[in-house]
């Protein structure tokens, strides 16, 4: 534990230690996470992969403080979030974590611009205009800012979600199958942007995905099976990911 803590704050953005998450009770209990220890370095793009039901989404929810755990610890940027109450978790999400979900990322009542700035506004922070412009231009959203989500395509909606996740410069961005609903071209745009935000802007991104092609954009792949870590791949390619998954029996 001491080794881990000393690491935190220098190079580690997010760390999980012996994480356990159980759904249900008695006979029907499911150990969705069964002793997962894993670290995610700052400034890197990590993909979490594994067969369906292996606990990827659960892990991400626990890492992001969206769900409570039944055992183990999670550190985000030096803070042990498993010890925090709802108020502090909320504050953590506001200030230090960004999210991109598979769908329903945006509030239908707000324009694209208002959606992008929503997190900052909740935190009561002034947006950095220059940074905002950079993100909007990189994502090609300039002429869509005044539109409501219902007037945007699926790919555009996901790009707006990415912009919102990044505009607050969080310690880490979590993305759960951000390209799951997109065609390959729109998916590639979103992935390109996430990779660029890591390489050029120094962001930390943790992404859950099913898609080996999507995983190949990452710097590293963490594999899960039956709620336990099942290996890692550095500098993954589509092929290396595919063969690793085949090996897991997915």
């Amino acid at each position: 534990m001491s080794a881990l803590v000393s690491d935190v704050g220098t190079r580690t953005a997010v760390a999980a230690e012996d994480l356990v998450k159980v759904y249900g009770k008695g006979d029907t209990a499911v150990r969705a996470l069964d002793g997962v220890s894993v670290t995610f370095q700052a400034g890197r793009f990590t993909a979490i992969m594994g067969p369906s039901g292996s606990g990827k989404s659960t892990l991400m929810h626990c890492l992001a403080g969206l769900d409570n755990v039944d055992g183990g610890k999670v550190h985000v940027g030096g803070t042990e979030i498993t010890a925090l109450g709802d108020k502090d978790l909320t504050k953590l999400r506001r200030d230090r974590v960004g999210f991109v979900f598979q769908a329903f990322n945006l509030l239908p009542t707000l324009t694209a611009e208002a959606n992008i700035l929503l997190g900052l506004e909740l935190a009561g922070r002034k947006p950095d205009r220059e940074w905002f412009d950079t993100i909007v231009d990189v994502l090609g959203l300039r002429d869509r800012l005044k539109h409501k989500p219902s007037e945007l395509s699926g790919g555009q909606q996901q790009r707006v979600a990415c912009a919102r996740a990044l505009v607050a410069r969080p310690d880490v961005v979590f993305a759960d199958e951000p390209t799951g609903n997109l065609d390959s071209r729109s998916g590639a745009e979103v992935l390109d942007f996430l990779r660029m935000s890591v390489r050029k802007l120094g962001q930390t991104v943790i992404m859950v995905t099913h898609d080996p092609v999507a995983a190949s954009y990452a710097d590293r792949v963490v594999l899960l099976a039956d709620g336990r870590p099942a290996g890692e791949i550095d500098s993954p390619t589509t092929d290396s990911v595919l063969s690793a998954l085949k090996h897991l029996g997915a």
Partner: protein, 836 residues
């Protein structure tokens, strides 16, 4: 299909129960009203049945015979001697003040108690019936309020203040007949004693009971033969009963109609809430319904499915509402009985077939009808909707329909037309009805325009919360405006309730202020002495006695003269300009001498007279008089005009005594009131009033009426608030994912709750604000319509009460949001995201 419906009902129990509450409340109100109406009829019928019990023959003076003005003792004897008559007694009643324990007169009705036991209308409560002319029995309630006990003397104040003293020997239960409903006190005398109160007026009716072995018809025929059949109407007991019942029903029918009007409002409000609920339920189930269409359900099946759900809900709610309504009726009867001052009385709960049918018609039919449109919409759900990723029920974003705009214009034109026409009418009753109908058309126009108003009103109302609460308020405001049709339908119910409450309150307060202003002008002096009994003037010596009191600076008696189309005040010449100071607009009060009159500006307009005209006054008693108009005055609403005391003495009515005596105290005297009371206390009729006390009394009465109306409309408002809670709950369920997303982005639980509370408050304020504006506007229309004639009613907006209403709406909205907000905040982020 049936299994799917049942499964659907089970899965949505919570939502359906919530919606059923709105229906049940509506049903409860309608049945409550009907049961109450039936109960009033039943109790009145009971009471009148008492009056007609054992009466086999009734003899009254026939209306078209002018030479007989009553039933003479000879005629009575003839009736008594007719074959088959077991007993006969005169019946009659007259207004005679009774002196209470403190020596003050109190208006009361004296009745002649039959000597024949079978013919007695009242049941003895205590003691016995009077048997001699110096004995008296009084109604139980009167005995209590006037503090009279058996064995004590009771004094009735006859004509010319003649005191008649009797010994109280018993009390009886008057029950709930017409007089007790209006709260009159009541005393009973033997026929001889009753006759002695007004010897010159013989009885008007004699009732008789048949001896054993005679039929009603035989006795009727025998009585007819015994007396001059042309001068009298002889009826059988049966006919008398029928006649009385017909009268009773037309009386209580008016009250039932009033209650039904309120029930109708509650019903309209409930129907809107139900309609709205179903629209939302169907919108939320777009996906589910589309899925059913995907797996092969036909349009008809989907339609019938939604209707079947409504039917089940309506039936359940009707049953609950029916029983609730019976409870409401019992409660209202208690309230009415307590207003009567008695605090006791029988609560009747007759449940007729009509009531049961009405309950089910309202609860079930209205629910099913309200569900038809949403059900039709459900059939139009395309099967592909099941496959769409983002189901947003905001699909019905207001189509700014031309039809909608045209309908609104039509209603506006009708409304404005009726209002303008009504205000120009002379007869204030008709004016009120026409203008009132016009305002309701305008209300309909606003209702139709609702969805178009939501946007702008929401923006205006949202400014303050946005400035105060930041992001949650901004989100709340966006939510309130996201589906204008839904918001409009939700707030419309509240709007109707508030419009009517505000309207009634404004009109009542305007009337109250107008009356208060009248009192101020009527009572320029420190004290005013008036008569406690209507049409019994004050004795003239009283003015002389008051003038002799050392503390009194000045005394001015007034008289009143009723003409055919006006009433005028007589006042001593030297009080004009002193205790009586009107503003003169033309002519001069210096010219007000014998045979002249100064009239009010209102009256001038109404009767088209001017200075110099001759007025012909035709009083009820005495000869007509010609008076010359010498001045037009303003700022006194004492009456239509004034004349000098001497002029008024030409009228017998004014010569009898004084209508009031104005008393002005010397400057700086202490205990002025006590000094005046030393003179007024011994006089049974004299009532000492200061303007403040009179106002207080009047305001109390008006407030009572207002409270009753607030309570009635309160139910409609309650249903409307349920509608808001309902919509909010359904919206929260619909937006589970959205709430989860907001929480993921950093909205705290508290902020999420705050957001929903603000959304609720915004909706409530939208309804309340528009309702208040309309209500005040309509109130102005009605006061204008009312003031066309005799007096001008000024518009008074009771800001205090309106503030209370607004604050109430805000508090209620917060309460309405409590459950949905709790629910939304409790859902965990992950669970919320997983929601389909």
């Amino acid at each position: 299909m049936l299994r799917t419906i049942i499964a659907g009902l089970r899965a949505r129990t919570a939502r359906l129960v919530l919606s059923s509450v709105a229906i049940a409340l509506g049903v409860a109100f309608v049945t409550g009203t009907l049961v109450l109406g039936d109960a009033m009829n039943a109790s009145l019928r009971d009471e009148f049945a008492k009056g007609a019990r054992n009466v086999d023959v009734s003899v009254t003076v026939s209306g078209d015979s002018s030479d007989v003005d009553g039933i003479s003792p000879e005629t009575l004897a003839a009736i008594r001697q007719a074959p088959g008559v077991a007993g006969a007694d005169p019946r009659g009643s007259q207004a005679v003040p009774v002196l209470t324990a403190n020596g003050k007169a109190k208006p009361a009705w004296a009745v002649s108690l039959p000597t024949n036991e079978k013919l007695r209308e009242f049941d003895l409560a205590d003691g016995r019936y009077p048997t001699s002319a110096d004995e008296i029995a009084v109604d139980k309630r009167t005995a209590a309020t006037a503090k009279l006990t058996i064995g004590q003397p009771v004094v009735l104040l006859g004509k010319e203040e003649k005191r008649h003293t009797y010994t109280l020997v018993g009390t009886y239960q008057q029950g709930t007949n017409t007089m007790s409903l209006s709260g009159y006190d009541h005393v009973g005398l033997t026929p001889e004693a009753f006759q002695a109160l007004e010897p010159e007026r013989p009885p008007y009716q004699v009732v008789a009971t048949a001896a054993a072995g005679f039929t009603q018809q035989q006795v009727v025929d025998n009585v007819r033969k015994a007396i001059d059949a042309k001068a009298f109407t002889v009826q059988s007991g049966e006919e008398l009963t029928q006649e009385t019942l017909a009268r009773v029903e037309s009386q209580s029918g008016e009250f039932t109609a009033l209650l039904l009007a309120f029930a109708l409002i509650a019903l309209v409000v409930a129907a809107m809430v139900i309609y709205n609920t179903f629209t939302i339920l169907v919108a939320q189930r777009t996906r589910e319904l589309a899925l059913m269409r995907c797996v092969g359900a036909s349009r008809g099946q989907v339609f019938r499915g939604v209707l079947a759900e409504a039917l089940v809900m309506g039936l359940t709610a009707s049953v609950i509402g029916l029983f609730g309504g019976i409870g409401v009726s019992a409660l209202l009867q208690r309230v009415i009985l307590s207003f009567g001052g008695a605090g006791e009385g029988v609560v009747y709960l007759p449940v007729s077939v009509t009531t049961v049918l009405a309950a089910f018609a309202v609860g079930t039919l209205v629910t099913v009808l309200a569900a038809v449109l949403p059900a039709r919409k459900a059939t139009r759900v395309a099967p592909v909707a099941a496959l769409r990723s983002q189901p947003d029920s905001g699909e019905e974003v207001a189509r700014t329909g031309v039809v909608r705009a045209l309908t609104a214009v039509l209603f506006t034109v009708i409304g404005v037309g009726a209002v303008v026409f009504g205000m120009s009418m002379d007869d204030e009753d008709a004016a009120m009805v026409v203008s009132g109908a016009g305002t309701m058309a305008l209300l309909a126009a606003v209702l139709v325009l609702g969805p178009l108003l939501v946007g702008p009103v929401n923006r205006v109302l949202g400014v303050l919360p946005r400035a105060l609460f930041g992001v949650p308020a901004k989100l709340a405001s966006a939510n309130a405006g996201r589906n204008p049709k839904r918001t409009a339908a939700t707030t419309a119910a509240l709007m109707i309730g508030v419009t009517i409450v505000a309207l009634v309150t404004v009109v009542a307060n305007s009337a109250k202020e107008t009356a208060n202003a009248q009192i101020d002008e009527r009572m320029p002096a420190d004290y005013t002495v008036t008569s406690s009994v209507y049409d019994r003037p004050l004795p003239k010596e009283l003015a002389t006695q008051l003038a002799a009191v050392p503390e009194v600076a000045k005394v001015a008696p007034t008289t009143v003269v009723y003409g055919e189309r006006e009433y005028l005040t007589g006042i001593p010449r030297d009080a004009i300009g002193d205790l009586f100071r009107p503003t003169v607009t033309s002519g001069s009060l210096a010219d007000l001498v014998d045979g002249t009159v100064a009239v009010n500006a209102d009256y001038v307009k109404r009767r088209n007279v001017s200075v110099g005209s001759m007025l012909t006054i035709r009083p009820e008693k005495g000869e007509e008089q010609q008076l010359k108009v010498v001045a037009v005055i303003e700022g006194q609403r004492l009456s239509d005009g004034v004349m000098t005391m001497e002029t008024s003495q030409r009228f017998p009515q004014a010569a009898e005594g004084y209508d009031s005596i104005l008393v002005k105290l010397k400057d700086g005297v202490a205990n002025g009131r006590a000094a005046v009371e030393r003179v007024t206390d011994p006089s049974p009729l004299a009532l000492l009033d200061s303007a403040a006390e009179t106002k207080e009394q009047l305001n109390q009465q008006l407030n009572q009426v207002l409270t009753f109306i607030w309570a009635l409309i309160g139910l409609a408002v309650l249903i409307a608030l349920f509608g808001i809670a309902n919509t909010l709950t359904l919206s929260v369920l619909e937006r589970t994912r959205e709430s989860a997303l907001l929480r993921a982005l950093g909205l705290t639980r508290g902020q999420l709750r705050l957001m929903l509370v603000i959304e609720s408050v915004l909706m409530a304020l939208m309804g309340a604000a528009i309702g208040l504006l309309l209500g005040i506007g309509f109130g102005w229309v009605i006061t204008e319509a009312l003031s066309t004639d005799t007096i001008s009613v000024d518009l008074i907006v009771p800001f205090g009460q309106i503030g209370v209403m607004l604050a109430g709406a805000v508090v209620a909205a917060v309460v309405a949001a409590a459950l949905p907000a709790r629910r939304a905040a409790r859902t965990s982020v992950v669970a919320g995201m997983a929601e389909a």
